[in-house]
């Protein structure tokens, strides 16, 4: 289908964007990669008055490395993440996840910040933000504020981002020597959003995890951090009986919601399966 009519302008700077926020309020939508937004426009699920194209804002389009943080600009494309040595070396979970994001032509255009702002509950990047305990840098005319990834996702497509704010960067802590990551997802077609998936990040000493984040996605209105399951595993040697206990706890802890194609039971089954697979992978 074709979108409703709208106006379009290119932001020349962040401060120009803030002016436009003031002028258009909730009639404004930021256009970054557009790989979800233009879909919703074409399907007439969304009809903004003004689209502001931020693709010229080079100040938010690079990856930088400091002593303990990899900072990813909001406009960095998925393809750049996929090809970045800094990401491969210092944020290995993101490298594993990005291989599952859509297809080559979409990864050339889709942006890191856009995926997080859109907050699809079945998307890979928001799950990684949670699992990696990333910090989001949100900017407005009032300045910048930092928010923990775990506080950002509120509900279905709903986040802490205010009407006059933009995500400018995502800060990931650098992986340590004993950092371990695993990523699993099931999709109906290659490159599609996940029916269910797991992003795992932790620190492993010998056969014992010293810390662990388990994030399940595609199973509820937001990606879900399974804290109780992680607590159960941390500090214990990973054995078949521990894995079974963790799987049972998962069923208690997370409230899975079914969708049009997959039942609650199927999503829970997949989640438990991925938990087992990922933990077994760490044992090897």
């Amino acid at each position: 289908m074709k979108p409703y009519d709208f106006s379009y302008t290119r932001a020349t700077s962040l401060s120009h964007l803030y002016d436009l926020f003031d002028e258009y309020g909730d009639g404004l939508k930021i256009l970054a990669g557009g790989q979800s937004l233009i879909t919703t426009l074409n399907m007439r699920l969304s009809s903004p008055e003004m689209l502001v194209d931020i693709n010229d804002l080079s100040e938010i389009s690079s990856i930088s490395l400091t002593d303990n943080i990899v900072s990813v600009g909001a406009l960095v494309r998925h393809a750049e993440i996929q090809e970045s040595n800094d990401i491969k070396q210092h944020v290995p979970l993101l490298k594993l996840a990005i291989e599952h994001v859509a297809h080559a032509a979409i990864r050339n255009r889709g942006t890191h910040g856009g995926s997080i702002a859109f907050a699809d509950p079945a998307a890979e990047i928001p799950a990684c933000v949670l699992a990696l305990n990333a910090t989001l840098v949100l900017a407005s005319r009032e300045g910048e504020r930092r928010i923990a990834g775990s506080d950002f996702f509120k509900d279905l497509y709903d986040t802490e981002l205010r009407e006059n704010e933009i995500i400018v960067a995502i800060e990931y802590p650098i992986a340590k020597k004993n950092t371990v990551s695993a990523f699993r997802e099931f999709t109906r077609r290659k490159g599609d959003f996940a029916t269910a998936g797991l992003a795992l990040n932790g620190e492993l000493d010998g056969k014992v995890l010293q810390s662990l984040s388990l994030v399940f996605f595609g199973v509820a209105n937001t990606p879900v951090l399974a804290r109780q399951v992680a607590d159960l595993i941390v500090g214990e040697p990973i054995t078949p009986s521990l894995i079974e206990k963790a799987q049972n706890e998962l069923a208690n802890e997370i409230e899975v919601i079914g969708d049009l194609y997959s039942s609650e039971e199927m999503k829970l089954h997949l989640s438990k399966h991925f938990l087992k697979q990922a933990l077994e992978e760490l044992q090897v």
Binding site: K2, S7, I38, T39, L41, D53, A104, A105
Partner: protein, 160 residues
């Protein structure tokens, strides 16, 4: 409250200036305003891959890009790639191996496969499948398509 604007775009090496509405997709712009109908429109939501073109040298979905966004940028379509001859070997092999039936998906597949071979000189079949996974062929002739891309890579390696 639409603001139609003039855009200048370089398409297949030629400069075009046109007056467009912001809601026009790059795909419709290329087909209707420029008359280049080799770029096909399938699903209009980024799933089928029939509308793939190159924007500043990289493949993108032209249904998920607005024409106004390409003001000042360079686009290459299947017409440009065909005329330059840079993928003529692959086109011949697609023909020889029956890697197209109705041909609707073919321009998108050729552009996508061309980018794969730029990145990876000799991809294995699994890599070809993975890279082409965003291009649907409703005639379902996937095996022949993969054969053709594989043979193109091999022939280029052999320096033919």
């Amino acid at each position: 409250m639409s603001n139609k604007t003039d855009i200048s775009v370089n398409v297949n090496g030629r400069e075009y200036t046109r007056h467009v509405s912001p809601r026009v997709s790059l795909a419709d712009f290329i087909r209707h305003d420029l008359g280049l109908t080799g770029t096909h429109v399938g699903c209009e939501h980024g799933v089928c891959g029939a509308c793939v073109v190159k924007l500043d040298g990289k493949i993108v979905r032209s249904c998920l890009t607005l024409a106004v966004q390409t003001d000042g940028h360079a686009i290459e379509t299947i017409e440009g790639l065909s005329e330059s001859g840079e993928i003529s070997d692959m086109q011949e092999i697609f023909h020889k191996r029956n890697a197209l039936q109705c041909g609707y998906c073919t321009p998108g597949i050729l552009l996508t496969a061309a980018e794969l071979l730029e990145k990876t000189a000799t991809p294995d079949r699994e890599e070809i499948r993975e890279f082409l996974s965003g291009n649907l062929c409703r005639c379902t002739g996937y095996e022949a398509i993969i054969d053709a891309v594989e043979e193109t890579a091999r022939e280029r390696q052999d320096g033919k």
